[in-house]
């Protein structure tokens, strides 16, 4: 999912970079000086662990393999703010040391894998986890699995949407047409997500059993509890905000698309007039719809996984207990 330089339309890359810098800046501001000093080495070592875990290939079937992203895992272990910083660092190292993903595309890669993926992972986990209390260990596993799958799928949907929007904004000079990028990215990552979910569940269960102290305790609520503090320290409220942020992040791309959409769309249609073969190829999606398809699919996948998790929890626990 690492986007190289020169693939994305400059405007799309610019919007992505601005969003990425804004979010990373606020994450930097949120991680207070004190937490930083104490947790920096631990976050660094965990990032190294995640980087190495990304080298772990799991079998997908038919001889192909996928590898972990680990964003949900990191977010569950050290909280969303530090996870954003940690994944950012992993991406910078991959871009500068290994040529995986480019500099101009760092904003978009960061947006997909260092912001959207951990925020969705942590958000889904925090939303599903409180409901799963009555079910015991299986409930926790379901929450983790839902979080891991949703994080991979949403990140892939965001990547596909960026590719599609690049393509239609630039009249086909950049990006990948939605008709290819959306089904390819989503289909592949829906399967990869299952591997990610299974392995993340295994890892979380293993780490819980072997070394519970590996989980950073985040969000220790202060003794003075005004309504505002209680609201902002409530995990459910914060998780909802995290997920809202993710969908808010996709809005600028939508405006970008709709502002130059009409013109770009017609142009693309003309450009596409290369031969009959192409028309057949593109039939499942009309060109400009790539962005909406991807966004819609991302939303749908997210809802589906939340509903599925709830359903399974209900079946297991004869009605979730809230406390």
């Amino acid at each position: 999912m690492h986007i190289p330089d020169g693939l994305m339309d400059p405007i799309v890359a610019l919007v992505g970079t601005v969003e990425f810098l804004a979010i990373v800046g606020s994450a930097l501001a949120l991680s207070s000086r004190k937490t930083r000093e104490k947790d920096l080495p631990r976050v660094a070592v965990l990032c190294a662990g995640i980087f190495v875990a990304q080298m772990l290939n799991f079998p997908v079937g038919g001889g192909t393999t996928g590898h972990l992203i680990g964003a949900a895992l990191l977010a569950i272990m050290i909280g969303p703010v530090l996870a954003i910083l940690g994944m950012t660092v992993v991406l910078i190292i991959q871009a500068l040391m290994f040529g995986d993903g480019g500099i101009t595309a760092l904003g978009l890669n960061g947006l997909n894998m260092a912001i959207i993926a951990p925020l969705v992972g942590w958000g889904v986990y925090s939303l599903v986890h409180p409901i799963s209390k009555g079910v015991g260990r299986a409930g926790d596993s379901i929450a983790v699995a839902a979080a891991a799958w949703a994080s991979v799928f949403t990140a892939a949907a965001a990547c596909a949407a960026e590719l599609a929007v690049s393509y239609s904004v630039s009249d086909g000079a950049y990006g990948i047409a939605g008709a290819i990028s959306v089904p390819a990215m989503l289909g592949y990552h829906a399967v990869i997500g299952i591997g990610e979910a299974v392995i993340t569940v295994g890892v979380v269960a293993y780490v819980r059993a072997a070394s519970p102290s590996a989980f950073l305790r985040t969000g220790v609520s202060p003794p003075t509890k005004t309504l505002l503090v209680r609201l902002t320290s409530s995990k459910v409220a914060m998780a909802s905000v995290a997920i809202l942020v993710v969908f808010a992040l996709s809005l600028p791309f939508y405006f970008l698309y709709s502002s130059s959409g009409g013109d770009g769309l017609e142009q693309t249609m003309e450009d596409a007039d290369v031969g009959e073969r192409d028309q057949i190829l593109s039939s499942p999606f009309s060109y400009g719809d790539g962005y909406f398809t991807a966004l819609f699919a991302g939303l749908l996948g997210f809802l589906a996984v939340a509903l599925a998790a709830l359903g399974v929890l209900k079946l297991l626990g004869r009605g979730p207990k809230r406390d």
Binding site: L85, V191, V274
Partner: protein
């Protein structure tokens, strides 16, 4: 010290520290290299006409060949980055014609080659120190240094575990339905993380003893010499020329 046999995304870890001082590119000030290469890459990513893309590709390849960096690892790393680029170009071939596809291939290749020259021709910690001196926030640069240092340690441990796994007959499994394989894999990842956190405690105490207060002081100081400025000037000027030519193309 860095192990060459660790695979990330299916390719080997580069070892920039091995040759980094043996060629002129490695001796340049890291700030000059970062600013120069970044501006070149940013301009190259914006090019749309075939002639300019060819020019930037020639420039990138010229930089790679004259820098004195061993070409074998460089081309290997380029080959590792290729599949995604080819997939993208292929879709452009199909939808917007051969010319556009070739342009995409050339544009991404020029950027990737320039970035790889920077990555392979610079000592890792020189690179991070350079970023630090270019005012990248200290949390990010400190995390970068610590993380990179521990990637080396953890990946060595990981490859030991992999050897042990293979010695016991583990072959990686066949599909997602292979419960046994996935269990082994998640235990491997879990062990990596648990050992990492155990080590993190020791690291923190060790850093504390050396006066760590959330920040790493950069000891490498260097001044921009004549060579650095010349290198910077050449790259910035060619980037500007490309950018100017590109605006001319857009006006037409």
């Amino acid at each position: 010290m860095i192990v060459g046999h660790v695979r990330g995304h299916g390719h080997t870890l580069p070892n920039p520290d091995e040759h980094s001082k043996s060629h002129w590119f490695g001796r340049l000030d890291s700030r000059a290299k970062i600013v120069g290469v970044f501006s070149f890459v940013i301009v190259s990513a914006l090019l749309t006409s075939a002639e300019l893309i060819a020019a930037s590709l020639v420039l990138a390849v010229a930089m790679a060949t004259t820098s004195g960096i061993p070409l074998r690892p460089l081309s290997k790393a380029y080959a590792a980055a290729l599949p995604f680029i080819v997939l993208a170009s292929l879709s452009v071939f199909l939808f917007a014609g051969t010319e556009r596809g070739l342009e995409m291939l050339g544009r991404t290749s020029a950027c990737v080659v320039a970035l790889l020259v920077l990555a392979f021709g610079t000592g890792t910690f020189d690179l991070f120190a350079g970023m630090r001196r270019l005012r990248v926030p200290s949390v990010i640069s400190t995390l970068l240094m610590l993380t990179y240092r521990y990637i080396l340690v953890v990946s060595e441990e990981f490859s030991r575990m992999r050897t042990a796994r293979r010695a016991r007959g583990f072959r990686g499994g066949r599909s997602l339905l292979d419960r046994y394989a996935l269990k082994i894999l998640s235990f491997t990842a879990g062990t990596v993380l648990v050992r990492s956190t155990d080590r993190a405690e020791l690291v923190y105490e060790g850093l504390k003893c050396r006066g760590f207060s959330g920040d790493i002081t950069v000891w490498r100081t260097s001044v921009l010499g004549r060579n650095d400025l010349a290198f910077l000037a050449v790259l910035i000027m060619s980037s500007c020329a490309l950018a100017l030519a590109q605006t001319e193309v857009m006006r037409w």
